[in-house]
């Protein structure tokens, strides 16, 4: 019940929370992106073994961003984090052209996962500040993004070092997945309001009847009341 109310209120006021996974090969820049989003500054990072998780408040969305280590040996553990994920940010090192094939294979393996069927896909073509970085069209081609036909996706040119493109991606996420109260929730809300109204009405009626009853019972009632006092 409480959860329902929270959901209703957040759907009215537009606040919402989302769980986002940041995935990608090692050295793609996932951790730098996470802390750039959270603190707005560049931190020096070491390869992540395990995960980093931070809450990022952006306009009225509260994002729980999970940055999972990308090394080959720990990629199999990504799937432990898949349930209840609204979006995937897949980070690619656009200057690492040798490993784009591996990036593509990992990416399509993730898309096959049942638990991620409902999540939207954001691709960050990262490290645009480096010379020789491929642009968004080339990365689209290399990752074969066109094979995605049953969910929304978008690609952004980003540079975690310069802070470019990261929030544009979040803007897209916000517009791609608007939440409005579903018709079921609207009906429930209406029922609760009607219920509250009727209860109040009955209470008011009961109080009035009671008063009338006491007043109508004449002297005895009055006597009882005065006795009581």
């Amino acid at each position: 019940m409480g959860i329902l109310f929270t959901r209703m209120l957040s759907s009215i006021f537009g606040n919402r929370e989302a769980r986002i996974l940041v995935l990608g090969l090692d050295n793609a820049g996932k951790t730098t992106i996470l802390y750039r989003l959270q603190m707005g500054e560049v931190v020096s990072t070491i390869p992540t073994i395990g995960f980093n998780v931070e809450t990022v408040q952006y306009n009225n969305i509260k994002l729980q961003v999970w940055d999972l280590g990308g090394q080959t040996s720990i990629r199999p553990y990504w799937r432990c984090y898949f349930p209840n994920t609204q979006a995937i940010i897949y980070v690619v090192d656009s200057s690492d052209t040798d490993r784009l094939v591996i990036a593509k294979e990992e990416f399509h393996a993730i898309l096959e996962e049942d638990e991620l069927k409902g999540s939207v896909v954001l691709v960050y073509a990262n490290k645009q500040d480096l010379p020789g970085a491929l642009d968004d069209a080339a990365i689209t081609e290399a990752l074969e993004l066109h094979k995605i036909k049953n969910r929304q996706w978008a690609i952004f040119k980003t540079s975690a070092i310069k802070g470019e493109g990261l929030f544009e991606g979040l803007d897209w996420y916000r517009t791609a997945t608007p939440i409005y109260p579903s018709s079921c929730e609207k009906a429930l809300m209406a029922m609760i309001l009607i219920g509250a109204y009727l209860t109040l009405g009955f209470l008011a009626l009961a109080v009035r009847l009671h008063v009338v009853f006491i007043a109508g019972s004449g002297d005895r009632g009055v006597r009882e009341v005065s006795y009581f006092i």
């Binding site: 691709v123 642009d135 689209t140 094979k147 929304q152 996706w153 978008a154 803007d171 517009t175």
Partner: protein, 205 residues
């Protein structure tokens, strides 16, 4: 037993899902059109036009209109992103090409992009709906004028319609979609895609 009945039921009553590609040059109003379609046919509020950001990828809209299931694929129109258009051609039943009718300087680009689309063999026989969008603006040209300007020669036997619409206030959209559904139901391409899909399913088994 149940699954047998269910299969029969599905076979008899399931509607075909039509895939419709929304194409057009940058800033033509493709995503606004998609959002308007969602708000018309889903009774939900679509995104207001001022909150739409340029598409760099794929937006999807699933609606039911005129008794048919439609899946709209809205692709980004920036020049670098047009290369992915053709990857979606093979599975598309029809094309909606959106043109900003209030911006004559974009017509040349639209014309060449559209001609390139029509030359592609993967789209043989796909009905084409050309929308002269942004009719809410006073400087917008009519659909006839746009047709004269584009002067398309490669239409051949393709079913096509020029229609003036406004993705902002919704003018003309319902009529255009009705035409599109009707055209897809009549088109030989639909039959061909269905046969191919069946063959694909059989192949999987």
């Amino acid at each position: 037993m149940f699954s047998l009945f269910y299969g029969l039921w599905k076979y008899m009553f399931s509607k075909i899902e039509f895939h419709v590609l929304i194409l057009g040059v940058h800033k033509a109003g493709k995503t606004s059109l998609l959002e308007k379609l969602k708000s018309i046919y889903l009774n939900s509020e679509g995104l207001p036009p001022d909150r739409i950001v340029p598409t760099v990828g794929l937006n999807i809209g699933r609606v039911e209109a005129s008794n048919a299931k439609l899946v709209f694929w809205d692709l980004g129109g920036q020049i670098g992103l047009r290369t992915i258009w053709e990857k979606y051609y093979e599975e598309a039943h029809a094309i909606v090409f959106v043109i900003d009718a209030s911006c004559p300087s974009s017509f040349e680009d639209s014309k060449s992009a559209l001609e390139k689309v029509l030359r592609n063999d993967d789209l043989r026989g796909a009905p084409l709906l050309i929308l002269a969008n942004k009719q809410d603006l006073p400087e917008a040209v009519s659909s006839e004028e746009l047709a004269r300007y584009l002067d398309l020669k490669e239409l051949g036997e393709r079913l096509y319609l020029f229609e003036a619409v406004s993705a902002y206030d919704g003018m003309g959209i319902k009529y255009a979609i009705e035409w599109l559904v009707d055209a897809m139901e009549r088109s030989k391409r639909t039959e061909m895609l269905r046969i191919r899909a069946r063959a694909g399913e059989a192949g999987n088994i």
